[in-house]
């Protein structure tokens, strides 16, 4: 099978879905001629024109609010939020408007809106360009939250997001854009809310998503050399959350490690740990362990950032502690 980058996979999803569905249009900063700061929308202006690949002012609240209105009147807008950190600027539009509109109107309207963005650290961008905020979006009812780790999942999940009738927060990772992976030429989609077992194992369950999945797979490889067989689950979505996939694995392994780049305190790891002890307590052979970012803002300097963000070494240490 051919290999393409995460960026190319996303671009293909946008292009194919825009060709299929004329109601889809893109809005965002520098997404036209420039092709977006991470080049995901490169070439789409030439293909679809300025009405559907719409440059906006630096006005996140304005253009995401506008996208809510577009979605309520029959369009399927995709807004590109250049950095996840800017979501706070448009937080009313996302949390109070998009997420609640259907419920507040008793189901009279729907808001098919995709907010594409990228997050995460590892490049020294500092505290306002490196956050991982999926927990916040997952907490608010009414939003679906998607975090692909591979080019295959990126394309298939984005296509599903563009066929969903609800607001979807589609979270890419800035260090994944250049990664390559197998992506078929044929049409396919990946359903929202279904986790993927990226590596099978019988000793420890390791739950992760987004770029941390790549670190988890590396750690699992090394753990295997030490005799610890790790099952790596890529959640792919944190809302809906595929708890059943985790429970099925834990019932087999009896041990659970959760790894993510978001802060540890009240992160997805806390939610998953709570759900597993509620629903599979008798299967657990040891404490559930979490690997996550330290609870400080993300610093810029490399030794500091490396100290704050979780890496392969921390995941491996957790696997040893859980599986030993």
């Amino acid at each position: 099978m051919r290999e393409i980058t995460y960026t190319q996979a996303l671009r293909e999803a946008l292009s194919e879905e825009m060709s299929r569905d004329p109601s889809i249009l893109l809005l965002g900063e520098d997404i036209g001629v420039y092709g977006g700061v991470f080049k995901v929308t490169e070439g789409l202006l030439a293909k679809f024109g300025p009405e559907r690949v719409r440059e906006t002012p630096i006005s996140e609240a304005g253009f995401i609010g506008t996208a809510v209105g577009l979605a309520m009147t029959g369009k399927h807008p995709v807004t590109e939020l250049m950095f996840m950190d800017f979501a706070w600027v448009a937080s009313d539009q996302i949390f109070n408007q998009a997420a609640k509109m259907r419920y507040m109107t008793g189901g009279r309207v729907k808001v098919p809106l995709v907010v594409r963005t990228q997050q995460g650290g590892g490049r020294g961008n500092g505290a306002q360009h490196s956050q991982s905020l999926e927990t916040v979006f997952t907490h608010i009812p009414g939003l679906k939250v998607v975090l692909p780790a591979t080019p295959y999942d990126a394309k298939g999940l984005l296509k599903s997001a563009l066929r969903d009738e609800n607001p979807v927060i589609f979270i890419e990772h800035k260090l994944l854009y250049g990664t390559k992976g197998a992506v078929p030429e044929e049409e396919y989609t990946v359903p929202l809310g279904v986790a993927d077992v990226k590596r099978a194992g019988r000793d420890v369950t390791l739950v992760s998503y987004s770029r941390t999945v790549l670190l988890a797979l590396e750690a699992a490889q090394e753990a295997a050399q030490e005799g610890i067989e790790t099952e790596v689950i890529d959640l792919r979505c944190t809302s809906p959350l595929d708890v059943n996939c985790i429970l099925a694995s834990v019932q087999k392994t009896g041990r659970l490690v959760i790894a993510h780049e978001a802060h540890r305190r009240l992160g997805l790891g806390a939610e998953i740990a709570a759900s597993v002890q509620e629903q599979a307590f008798d299967y657990l052979d040891g404490p559930i362990l979490r690997v996550a970012a330290l609870d400080v803002p993300i610093p810029a300097s490399k030794p500091l950032e490396d100290a704050v963000l979780p890496g392969k070494a921390q995941i491996l240490a957790a696997l040893r502690a859980a599986g030993g």
Binding site: A61, F63, G69, N96, T105, G106, V109
Partner: protein, 319 residues
């Protein structure tokens, strides 16, 4: 379209219905039958009715939490509105929205909004949708004077300007940004100056004259329909009651309220119609009787409606 006697009588009928609706809702609120927040639009009926009379059913509209009257003027079934206030399953939002979220997309009502300024950006989106579809539908967004200090308003106004959106930005300047005089919260004399700064045409109108409101809005709507872009309308108006029920109103004098009450459109407008021999006193009386009957039916419907089942709380989160 110039207004005929039938139009003027219909406008009066809707204004009166809104007034009676809000008075009845106030009674229910004071009796503990309406929960939460309730921001009556008593005194501001002429803007709601005059502006909406210039819209078609397929035009879109957003408004704020002081929007019961505007929602009714746009075509919301007032029985569904009252049932919503009483928390009933037959309410326009099945009891999930309450006072601040009246919505009915079937009549172009994209919703009241409880966040100041949010509806302006949503309206810009509806206007862009119409523009992309090459229709002549327009969108009108009602908001208060306080909104013009909100960032979302500025951002949406700019988007409307650069994209020449078919949008009418209708500002009800009732002189108070909630409980604070707007004159202390802006350094300009006319709110239209804000629009000018964004390259958007601004006009001011007497918001206590429904005919003037209609004519000013109609002109803005026609410009929007013909691709000439957005208009900002500043309608000078006044709420004759507090910001919400329970407002102590320490920020304004009884004399000031009294002066505006003399101009109450619910008194002045029908008198003018009779004085100018457009309609007869009998016709006015007949409308009043019909509205009283309609209100009785609204109350009967709302009070007789079932409560939602607790199991419905988890429905309508996702489509």
């Amino acid at each position: 379209m110039s207004l005929q006697a039938g139009d003027l009588l219909q406008m009066y009928r809707t204004m009166l219905l809104i007034r009676r609706f809000e008075e009845k809702a106030t009674e229910f609120f004071l009796a503990g039958q309406i929960r939460g927040s309730f921001h009556p639009c008593i005194g501001q009926e002429a803007t709601a009715v005059g502006a909406c009379y210039a819209l078609r059913r397929d035009d879109s509209m957003t408004c704020t939490y002081r929007g019961h009257g505007q929602a009714i003027a746009k075509g919301l079934d007032p029985r569904e509105g009252m049932a919503e206030l009483l928390g009933r399953r037959t309410g326009c939002s099945k009891g999930k929205g309450g006072s601040m979220h009246f919505t009915d997309p079937r009549v172009g009502l994209l919703g009241e909004n409880a966040i100041v300024g949010a509806g302006v950006a949503i309206a810009a989106g509806a206007a862009l949708s119409a523009q992309l579809d090459h229709t002549d539908r327009v969108t009108l967004t009602f908001f208060g004077d306080g909104t013009i200090n909100q960032g979302t308003f500025a951002e949406a106004l700019n988007l409307a300007a650069i994209w020449k959106l078919p949008l009418v930005l209708f500002c009800e300047n009732n002189l108070y940004s909630e409980m604070t005089p707007i004159r202390d919260m802006v350094a300009i004399d006319h709110l239209t100056e804000r629009a000018a700064g964004y390259g958007v045409r601004g006009v001011t109108v007497d918001g206590y004259d429904p005919v003037a409101v209609y004519e000013t809005t109609r002109e803005a709507v026609e410009r929007a329909r013909s691709g000439e872009g957005p208009t900002f309308i500043e309608a000078m108006t006044y709420r004759l009651v507090g910001h919400m029920i329970g407002d102590s109103e320490v920020y304004r004098t009884r004399e000031e309220v009294g002066e505006w009450r003399k101009r109450d459109p619910l008194t002045v407008f029908p008198e003018r119609l009779v004085r100018e021999a457009v309609v007869s006193r009998e016709e006015i009386a007949r409308v009043e009787g019909e509205v009283a009957e309609q209100m009785a039916e609204i109350v009967r419907f709302a009070q007789g409606s079932p409560w939602p089942d607790p199991s419905e709380a988890t429905e309508d989160v996702f489509a």
